[in-house]
Amino acid sequence: MNDRYSDKSAAKLPRRLRADRTGKCMCFLPACIALVACLCLVCPACLHASDTLNFLDYQTALQKGKTAPRPLLVIFTTPWCYQCTELKRKISQNKDIISTLNERFLLVDVDISQNKKLKDDFRIYFTPTSLFLDSHGKPIMDVKGFIPMNRFRKLLRYVSEGFYKTTEFAAFEKR
C-alpha cells in the first residue's frame, strides 16, 4: 500500500522537487562513507570479523585466558604438512567455525619446526595436532590429523560448552 502511494506521489512531483530529494540523499552518502571509515579505524576487526581467524601466540593466549576464561585451541603444524594446510583452508572456508573460534576460543598456531619447546612440552609427534586446553593451560583433549568440518564443529561445541567435563567425546559425537 505504502509502496504504491509513494511511487505515485513521486511520479506526480515536479522535476525540480525530485532533484532536490536526490540531492539530499546524495548528501547522506559521504556521511555514511565517513561513518564506516571511522568504524573501521576504531575497530579494524569489524572489516574481517567473520572471515579471519585471530591467532595469538601461546603465552599471550594463556595470559588472556586468565582474564577472560576461554579454552585454548592450539594447532601444531609444520610448513610442509599438506594436511595442516588443508585443515586451515577448510576452516577458513566456514564462517560459522571462524566466528566460533574467534568468540569462544583463544586460538594458537604453533609451527613445531620453529617452536621445539612446545613440541616437547606437549609431546607432539604428529601434525596437524589440534590440542584443546582449558583456560589454565590444562589439556582437555587432542585430535591428530585432518578433521572433517562436521566433526570439527562438534569438537568446538563439545569443548566450548563444557561437555568434556561429563561426557566422552565418542559418546557426545553419537548424539
Binding site: 609444520t78 610442509w80 604438512c81 594436511q83 577458513s92 604428529f126 601434525t127 591428530k144 590429523g145 562436521n150
Partner: protein, 416 residues
C-alpha cells in the same frame, strides 16, 4: 573400527587379485588407479592423492593423512566386435574384469617422510570371441575361437619426502607379476597357449611443486618393465603339446607424465595431465617359442611371431573436482589417448583401440571413512586391418574390430 572389518576387506581384495586380468584403456594401462583418479579422467599427477599415490605420482604420498588404508576395485566391462575381411560380425562374449587395489600409507610422525605400500593391477587386456570365421575368403565355413588374457599386477613400496615446504619428491619400486594366455584358432589352424608368467621389476620417480595456494605442478617418470614370459604350455590344433613355452619381446613401457592443478575457487579444483607412453619400444614383434613337444614326430621347436609394432601414445587428461558440501565431492573428467595399435597390424586378439573416455565420480566422507565411486565410459573406436594382404603373414587382413568399455570404480578408505 570394528575388529575384523579390514582383514575381511583385505582377504576379499586379494581374492579379487587372483585373476590378475584387466582391460585397460590407455593402451594396456589403466587411465587412473582408484576412484578418485578415475573420476578426474586420470588427471592426477599434480592432485593430492593420499594412498593411491602408490599407483600414481609417488610424491603425492606426502599429502596422505596420518595413516590410511584403502581398498577398492574397478569392474571393467569391455565390448568388442570382430568382422573378418569378407566375413560376418562376431560379438565378444560377456566379460567382467575386476581390477583391484589395496594400499596403506602413513606419514612418519612430524618428519618430512611418508611411506606406503600397495598392490594394484597396472592393466592388461583380454578378448573372448567364440566361433569366429577363420579367414573366410580362403576357408569359407571354417570357424574357431579367439581368446586372450593379459594381466599385470604390481606390488609397490613407496616413499615421499618433503624437500622444502613446496617441493616434494617420491619414488616407488614396482615388483610386477604378469600372466598371459591366448587361443589363436586352437581347433583349426592355430594353437592354444596357457600358463605364461613372469616376474619383473621397475620403478617410478615423481615430484610435485606447490607454486602457490592455487597452482601446483607435478611430473613422473616410470621405467619400462621387460616381461619375459616363460613356463607356459602350447597345444597345436593337431594335438601336439609343447611343454616349454616362452614369449619374448613383451615389455611394459616407460612413461613420462606431467600435470598441473589449479584451485580455481576454494571449492573447485581443476587438473590437466599430459603423458607420453613409449609403446613403440615396448611392443614390436612378440615371439612365442615352444620346445619340448610330447610327440617325437613333431618339430622340435615352434616359433610364432606376432608382428604388432605399436605406436607411442600421447595421453591428455583433464579433470575437475567440486566440493558440494564438507562431506561430498563430485568429479568429472575426460581422457584422450591415441590408440597405439597400427591398422596394418591390427589383431582382434590385442585390440587396444579406445581413445576417448568420459568419467564422473564422487567421494562421500563419513567420520574417518571415505567412500569413492567413479564411472568411466570409453567411446567406441573401430579400425580395419589394412596391412599386408598375404594371409600367411597377416591372417587378420581386412578384419574390422570395434572396441568400447564401461568401468565402475569403487574404493573405501579408512583414516586413523
Amino acid at each position: 573400527m570394528k575388529k575384523g572389518v579390514f582383514p575381511g576387506l583385505i582377504v576379499v581384495t586379494l581374492l579379487l587379485c587372483a585373476p590378475l586380468n584387466g582391460w585397460a584403456t590407455n593402451g594396456m594401462n589403466m587411465i587412473g588407479t582408484g576412484a578418485v583418479s578415475s573420476g578426474m579422467g586420470g588427471a592426477d599427477v599434480a592432485v593430492p592423492a593420499g594412498c593411491t599415490a602408490i599407483a600414481g605420482n609417488p610424491a603425492q604420498l606426502a599429502t596422505t593423512c596420518n595413516r590410511v588404508l584403502s581398498v577398492g576395485s574397478a569392474l571393467m566391462f569391455p565390448g568388442m566386435e570382430d568382422t573378418p575381411g569378407g566375413g560376418t560380425r562376431t560379438d565378444n562374449e560377456f566379460q567382467m574384469f575386476p581390477v583391484p587395489f589395496i594400499g596403506y600409507a602413513q606419514r612418519i610422525g612430524t618428519s618430512r617422510w611418508s611411506v606406503g605400500v600397495g598392490a594394484f593391477a597396472q592393466g592388461g587386456m583380454g578378448v573372448n570371441f567364440k566361433n569366429v570365421q577363420v579367414m573366410p575368403t580362403m576357408m569359407p565355413g571354417l570357424r574357431d575361437d579367439l581368446m586372450s588374457e593379459v594381466g599385470f599386477v604390481r606390488l609397490s613400496p613407496t616413499v615421499a619426502y618433503n624437500v622444502t615446504d613446496k617441493l616434494t619428491m617420491g619414488a616407488s619400486l614396482f615388483a610386477g607379476y604378469a600372466t598371459l594366455k591366448y587361443d589363436f584358432f586352437p581347433n583349426t589352424i592355430g594353437h592354444r597357449v596357457k600358463d605364461l608368467t613372469s616376474f619383473t621389476f621397475s620403478g617410478r620417480f615423481g615430484l610435485n611443486y606447490q607454486i602457490n595456494d592455487k597452482w601446483s605442478v607435478g611430473a613422473t617418470y616410470t621405467s619400462d618393465s621387460a616381461i619375459d614370459f616363460d613356463g607356459g604350455k602350447l597345444t597345436t590344433a593337431t594335438g601336439v603339446k609343447y611343454n616349454d613355452v616362452k614369449m619374448d619381446g613383451f615389455t611394459w613401457p616407460q612413461q613420462v607424465e606431467t600435470g598441473v592443478a589449479y584451485r580455481a575457487t576454494p571449492k573447485l579444483l581443476l587438473a590437466l595431465d599430459l603423458s607420453w607412453i613409449n609403446w613403440s619400444s615396448a611392443i614390436k614383434t612378440v615371439t612365442v617359442t615352444a620346445t619340448n613337444p610330447d610327440n617325437s614326430a613333431a618339430p622340435a621347436s615352434l616359433t610364432v611371431p606376432f608382428v604388432m609394432k605399436w605406436k607411442d601414445q600421447i595421453v591428455v587428461a583433464v579433470g575437475a573436482e567440486y566440493e558440494l558440501t564438507d562431506s561430498f565431492k563430485v568429479r568429472a573428467g575426460y581422457n584422450y589417448g591415441n590408440s597405439p595399435v597400427s591398422s596394418a597390424n591390427l589383431s582382434p586378439l590385442f585390440p587396444a583401440l579406445v581413445e576417448h573416455h568420459a568419467t564422473a565420480g564422487f567421494t562421500y566422507t563419513w567420520t574417518n571413512w571415505d567412500f569413492d565411486f567413479a564411472y568411466e565410459h570409453a567411446f567406441t573406436n573401430t579400425k580395419t586391418n589394412d596391412g599386408d594382404p598375404n594371409p600367411m603373414t597377416n591372417p587378420f587382413y581386412g578384419s574390422k574390430v570395434s572396441h568400447t568399455m564401461d568401468t565402475f570404480n569403487f574404493m573405501v578408505s579408512y583414516r586413523f
